[in-house]
Amino acid sequence: MHSEYDSLGESGLQFFGKVSASIAHEIKNVLAIINENAGLLEDLTFAAQKGAAIDPDRLNRVCLQFNKQILRADEILKNMSRFAHSVDRFEGQVDLHELAVLVSNLAGRPAAMRKLSIVVEPPATPIIAKNNPFLVQNLIWLCLESAFGATTAGGTLRLAAERNDGRSGLRICGIDGLTEDFAAQLPAVCADLLDASGAKLIVDSVKKDLNLVLT
């Protein structure tokens, strides 16, 4: 087919791959903690069989750890499921806040690796755009990835869905290293994604804001 299709397909697959790998890593960590706590129970049981006393508080802490990790895994898998189903519809009503929450959750580990936090601020009323959910997610992800590289460790990125001049958009604030040529530093496929989703990117290097404007 033509190059635009190819680049969108390639970018989409890379996006899917990165998110899947990150989720797999998170699940591995959850399993590792459950595994160690199960092992500790075995150790304590073995010690009890040899006559040692079991501390009920220690057992309780293990149980709490199991519960905590189950909730953590459940949250990871809920996000994974939402993400996987985002390709079900080619076009539809997209709630930008919900989408921003999902992508920020998926980007939580890459952000943590750079010692960055992401906060998604809820809008007063839902901010809806008619678009392709997966393309918009891919755009937000690429913007966040680049924002990570332009933000000092320890910083917080704030995402806010908003509606201005009849257009819905997502503002990413707190990119302290944001410069006018930020858009030029984004991966080349961003231009194709912006074109395909009818979006544009506005850089405000004074306020240190990046605004992804949809229809």
Binding site: A21, A24, H25, K28, N29, L31, A32, I33, I34, N35, E36, N37, G39, L40, D43, A47, Q65, K68, Q69, A112, M113, R114, K115, A153
Partner: protein, 116 residues
């Protein structure tokens, strides 16, 4: 055997440390590289078990820093499964294990590393 465990997953590293302590190892742990370097500045360890992926300073980089402090220290890496990390960790000559870890295999790997 004196062991330094470093992993940013606190619940993992504390429980593994407790289990190794039960088995007679002298274990200290850190959840970030900077704290590990402080510990290594004050104490001597026979072996360090390092998570590959940690915020800011990963396992491979931390190993280089620890080796400069203690050239005789041995290393084992903990990695995610199927990632490039496995190959990178293996290529350093250090042992590596994929999470979740079988503690008996970890102990065996630690002993092998020390005997090398």
């Amino acid at each position: 055997m004196r062991v330094l465990l470093v992993d940013d997953e606190e619940e993992f590293v504390t429980t593994l440390a407790e289990r190794l302590t039960i088995r007679g190892f002298a274990v200290e742990y850190a959840t970030k590289a900077a704290d590990a370097l402080v510990l290594a500045g004050k104490n001597v360890y026979d072996i360090a078990v390092l998570d590959m992926k940690m915020p800011v300073i990963g396992g491979l980089q931390l190993r280089e820093m620890l080796e400069r402090q203690h050239p005789e220290m041995k290393f084992i890496f903990l990695t995610g499964h199927g990632s490039e990390d496995d190959y990178r960790a293996g290529s350093t000559g250090a042992g590596y294990l994929v999470k979740p870890v079988d503690i008996n295999i970890l102990i065996q790997k630690m002993k092998e590393a020390i005997e090398q």
